[in-house]
Amino acid sequence: MIATTDRTLNSLLGLYNQMVMIRAFEESAIELFAKGLITGSTHPCIGQEAIPVGACSALDPNDLVLATYRGHGAAIAKGSPPKYLMAELLTRTTGCCKGRGGSMHLCDKERGLLGTNAIVAAHIPIAGGVALSSRLRKSRQVVLCFFGDGASCEGEFFETLNMSALWKLPLVFICENNGYAISVPTSKSQATPDIADRARGFGIPAISIDGNDLLEVQARTATAVAHARRGDGPFMIECKTVRWERHSAFSAGRYDNPDEAQRWRKVDPIPRFAKKLLVMGAPPEQLSAEEAAARATIQEAVDFALNSPLPTPESVSEGIYADHGT
């Protein structure tokens, strides 16, 4: 990639570290769910790590992100410390949402993560409102809104495409098209193969890319973010990817084609990126060191979460309403 020649290897190794952290975070989440330590459900993004990491790496620190219930990767990529995220998955008081949100509701306002959301597509107009707010406050913040192929069928997606194009809002739509609902493949749910086509219908520039190529995601997002920040309005990037795991840890895990898992592993974004780094001159031992460091960070996060207290029953009715002055 020509676009990477001016980037330091170190920052790319940092992105490699993030991808491995996300992979390890999700593997831990699945394990903790199996042990009954995570209740409800949890929605891993294994196989999709290049999208949040690539996209968020194209943002300024002040930019804002809204994501979906499959949003652990987005939270880590936005810089939210994994230990508070893991504590949230285990609904501990030390969790980023004090143990109220759980796996599907992560939030880190300080780092610009304005929430992952458990209702498919509901956060899309909310992201539109945040983008309008950025304009009205003249903050020059760009808003990145992650959503899945399922959300692209919901009315609110179309409503927000219309409003954001109409008002030329600084909003970048990042579609994580992983090809499946719980069980139904997009070939049986989408009228056209490319979700990006829908944005074009509203006059929004849109592209479909290989979402498992981190550098491609990064470069395209950088273009989109620059477009939005210039005041040229929204932009959409459809990242084609695959979801290795079942929809959620709670779901049954059957797909149409049992051979797909094999095919998916061939496009695993992590070894693909590792290969590129080696070609670019990264020493193999440094890659191993990043992997070890990322996995150690997640192990620390798990230990931190497991050693954190659960909320008391009496606290259940606290924090429903904000006090005046907050």
Partner: protein, 323 residues
């Protein structure tokens, strides 16, 4: 003191707060130069311009979603939903998002959003433009609800709502927009959760909501001629709800009638009735009576007036309670 309509009082509250809060933004359909479907916004567009009085496309769900997005990122918003019936389009945003966001983010996000919407009952506009759906929202923790019945209360409650850090559903009523009361030009706020005793009486407590309030007051006046003293109370807000004022009145009168235009089943009256049983059961001289809208879709035109309670149905109920 100036005497103005409820429509003017709402407009005044918003104008004053737009001056007071330079970031306050209005969203909705036809709210710009046109002034809103029922003409509540007069001159706001001319005064504050299209950035702050923002006409948007017809999509209630995204409009409320945009309002939430503004609110969580430092821009307080007022969204107008043209008819209360159309809040159905925005239920996810109101119920799953606005009401719960502060809680599920552990207090990180606040949603200072006011959703204004009018009940359009007693106008004959048919089954999709006539509903009083306030009970649905009262069922949702996290959502504050104001439901004024007159100009004075509307201004004071709206000013409170516009300074509240939480989402507030502000339920108006087209039937009441033109009614006038004295409204101070000064800045005043009425706290949510304080019922108003509109008329004192010792024989029976009449709790009335929204457009049922003027009907109830008219019934009380008629009954006074017959020697029945009716205490009329308007809760004014449904969440928080002033159970204490109602229970105090019931302890005094021993009888209660609750009236609203909304359907009977699972209506607000049912909730109030149960609360009164919990608070003042020993003081009841008679069963609590509900005079409500019928459990039917509101038909268009001629038949619509048979659906909602009027002065005579309320007065008859009170008479039979006294016998």
């Amino acid at each position: 003191m100036p005497v103005i309509t409820m429509r003017e009082a709402i407009d005044q509250a918003i104008r004053e707060e737009m001056h007071r809060q330079p970031e306050l933004v209005l969203l909705g359909q036809d709210i710009g130069a046109y002034g809103g479907t029922f003409g509540v916004y007069r001159g706001l567009f001319e005064e504050f311009g299209p950035e702050r009085v923002r006409d948007g496309p017809l999509c209630e769900s995204a409009t409320v979603g945009f309002g939430i997005g503004l609110a969580i990122s430092g821009v307080r918003a007022v969204v107008e939903v043209e008819f209360m019936d159309f809040t159905t389009f925005a239920m996810d945003q109101i119920v799953n998002q606005a009401a719960k966001m502060h809680y599920f983010t552990g207090g990180q996000l606040t949603v200072p959003l006011v959703i204004r919407t009018p009940i359009v009952s007693r106008m004959g506009m048919g089954p999709q433009h006539s509903q009083s759906l306030e009970a649905w929202f009262m069922h949702v923790p996290g959502l504050k609800i104001a439901i004024p019945s007159n100009a004075y209360d509307a201004k004071g409650l709206l000013k409170t709502a516009l300074r509240d850090p939480n989402p507030v559903l502000f339920i108006e009523n087209v039937r009441l927009y033109g009614a006038k009361t004295e409204v101070p030009e000064s800045d005043y706020c009425i706290p949510l959760g304080q019922a108003r005793v509109l008329r004192s009486g010792s024989d029976v407590t009449l709790v009335a909501i929204s457009a049922a309030v003027p009907e109830g007051l008219a019934a009380a006046e008629e009954l006074e001629q017959e020697g029945i003293a009716v205490e009329v109370i308007d809760p004014r807000s449904l969440n928080p709800f002033d159970t204490a004022t109602l229970a105090d009145s019931l302890r005094k009168t021993g009888r209660m009638v609750i009236t609203h235009d909304a359907c009977r089943t699972c209506g607000v009256a049912a909730e109030i009735s149960q609360r009164m049983m919990e608070e003042a059961f020993d003081y009841l001289n008679a069963p609590i009576t509900r005079i409500t809208g019928l459990d039917v879709p509101t038909p268009s035109g001629y038949l619509h007036s048979t659906v909602v309670p009027d002065k005579s149905r309320i007065a008859d109920a009170i008479r039979s309670l006294m016998n």
